[in-house]
Symmetry: C2
Subunit: 386 residues, 2 copies
DNA sequence: CCGGTAAATTAACTTCGTCAAGAAATTAAG
DNA sequence: CTTAATTTCTTGACGAAGTTAATTTACCGG
């Protein structure tokens, strides 16, 4: 188990309380009867469950606005500044840290380079980041109890162990335990993509969906999957590796050793590499490639088009296999990815089987801070998850 | 809702009773303390939950065998002949029907050609099949209450509506309702692959796995997926369409309109077609192709090898995406599929990402009757599922 | 026959949620 | 201004389901 101090403040004590809390959290201001209707609980149960939450300051009653016949509603709302949460995402070269409120809205964002990838150095860096974030406001220092930390790779969320992280060159690092020695907060460590999926599920485009997929484009290409009420974990620590789905029989060999992976064609690195060989200019940067393609360079446009096809095929695989309600495609600076949005949609439409093509495709950018917001979201989640 | 008569006999009245029943059902004879240990219930709760099940005749106490120190255990076991279940699978050309016991073991199997695919004719056929199956034994007639019917395609299990079934050329057929008019049993209609997945989950190779996939090879190529404690349904009625995952960029055009689908290369039809073009002999049958390949015909062997690669890539996609504990690959007469078992395993091993390759691969044949057994399994499931 | 031991049972208690009745806060009508 | 109508919210009795702790049961070995 992650070293966690008993949070006697924990507002959630029973299933019904958790249901009420999460519905108010995600569905905005709602009246008690509405909560009852949406959850299937009795209105009496909602009243009872709401009381301790109100007393603890997590929910507040708003004044009703429109009034019809009968007793006016008194909608319940989350008191977002009741508690603050920290999220830190560890990348291979920097730390991204945020302070958020209860609804995972970012209040402060900080970036800080990572001099070394050694576990000790990373732990120190995170501790410093935490201090710096909390120093931003007295309120943060007083009302922050949870920290979420995310890392790319295979993480055991329950123990806080990082089993394997290729980007950091880590194997079996007890990150949760090391952090707990230096930081006096309830700490949760998890995989970065899973975390950002949790954020979408509770506070983003995943709200209201029974199942959805979140695809992240960038140096790596990952995918978070929500099915049957939970984020898919993967029994051997691997899941959502949409980047390593084989979509082309004759594609280039991926760094993972397989052939025709999406990531070998559509990751930022792969795009740069392909653009360089296509043009013969070895020093091209991503920015130059994007502007070149925008100006109409056919060779460069072809590289993007091919990437779009690869991604579209990957998305179709997800849709055909698990049939999510929505797929959120989200890249670091999807402004650049407008160059293949059309190809993604077209390929998806032709390769998705039957009704799977009805799956809603949302393309939108993913600012770097969002990754840290995901980390904060898993910290928020500790409030109401077991 | 499916027209279902109130089964006052339903033995399951609470979550704990369901847990006890399913653990005894799937884990064979188990002592009460063991059930408690495995489920996390208190032993008192197990005693209480077991009593009504024993009184209703669903569970029996066995005599303990090995005796150590202390009071000897009295293991609980399912009384398999307490109740019988019917399963009928509707294919495009015949009906397959079975009688099973509580543990979904097949007791009788019947095949019957389907003269017409019209809904009325199918309903009549199923009714006749039911009569014939029940006529096999007086006990069946007395102690059968549930019928499961499965169909390929998009089925709404809750209403018993077949939304779309390409093989039967059906669209919006209220099969459940039509059957209920003629058959005096509790009827459940579901998708065939989902049903057979349920059978594996409770009574087959899926027992004990938190997540697994069942891949069926044949005229179509499908996949049932169990994740987060449930069979994946697909929000638009589509899920598990592993056959339409695009794995080759340059593959043949599939009947679904997409390119490079697994099914366009590895379905029985596709194999026959490819074998015919490879050899130039237009009249080749599957049996001839198999024997030819076994005798070493290189052209034919290549066809099988390519199919194996396509399947392996599809399996790798599943493993990379959802990370199941096991994948059961199961074809109609996998005796023929021994011709590409090696390619499947090899391709899977190279294309699975990292730890996903640890996913256990089980290859084994799938006799036709198994499909009907799946139908019976969803009938059994009604006993303890809501 | 008498402890020792582990399984199963029992009984008292706790927790959670429903139900049904009623209190509260408003509009609409006489 | 009073009364009815209407809808939301609250309350308290009740019941279902599961827990803990003590007790009984059924076997062992001396």
């Amino acid at each position: 188990m992650t070293p966690r101090r008993q949070s006697s403040r924990a507002p959630v004590t029973s299933p019904a309380v958790a249901t009420v809390f999460t519905t108010v959290l995600t569905q905005g201001p709602v009246s008690r009867v509405d909560v009852a209707r949406r959850t299937g609980l009795s209105s009496a149960a909602v009243t009872k469950a709401a009381r301790p939450l109100i007393e603890a300051g997590y929910l507040i009653e708003r004044d009703s606005e429109q009034s019809g016949i009968g007793r006016p509603v008194s909608p319940l709302e989350v008191r977002a500044d009741r508690e603050f949460f920290l999220g830190v995402k560890v990348t291979d070269r920097e730390l991204i840290g945020v302070v958020t409120d209860l609804r995972a809205r970012m209040l402060v964002t900080k970036f800080r380079p990572l001099p070394s990838r050694k576990p000790d150095a990373v732990v120190d860096g995170i501790a410093e980041m935490v201090t710096a974030l909390l120093a931003e406001s007295k309120a943060y220092k007083q009302r922050t109890h949870c920290l979420g930390v995310t890392v790319a790779g295979d993480v055991d969320r329950d123990t806080g162990h990082v089993r394997y992280s290729p980007f950091l060159h880590w194997r079996d690092v007890a990150l949760g335990g090391l952090l707990a020695e230096k930081i006096d907060l309830e700490i949760t460590v998890d995989n970065d993509v899973k975390a950002i999926t949790v954020a979408e599920r509770w506070f983003g485009d995943g709200v209201g969906a029974n199942s959805f997929a979140l695809v992240t484009l960038g140096t790596g290409i990952g995918c978070g999957l929500v099915v049957n009420g939970g984020v898919v974990a993967g029994s051997h620590g691997v899941a959502g590796e949409i980047g390593h789905i084989p979509v082309f029989g004759d594609g280039p060999v991926c760094h993972c050793g397989a052939t025709g992976c999406v990531e070998a064609i559509a990751s930022t690195d792969a795009i740069v590499a392909q653009a360089r060989t296509a043009t013969g200019e070895a020093g091209l940067t991503m920015a130059e490639i994007v502007t070149g393609a925008r100006l109409g360079d056919t060779a460069l446009r072809k590289v993007f088009a091919r990437a779009g096809v690869a991604i579209g095929r990957g998305l179709a695989s997800v849709a055909n296999l698990v049939g999510p309600e929505r797929i959120i495609v989200s890249g670091e600076g999807l402004d650049a990815y407008d160059l293949f949005a059309d190809e993604i949609r077209e390929t998806f439409a032709t390769q998705a089987f039957g009704a799977a093509a009805q799956c809603e495709l949302i393309l939108r950018p993913l600012p770097f801070e969002e990754w840290a917001r995901g980390a904060a979201a898993i910290a928020v989640q500790t409030l109401f998850l077991s």
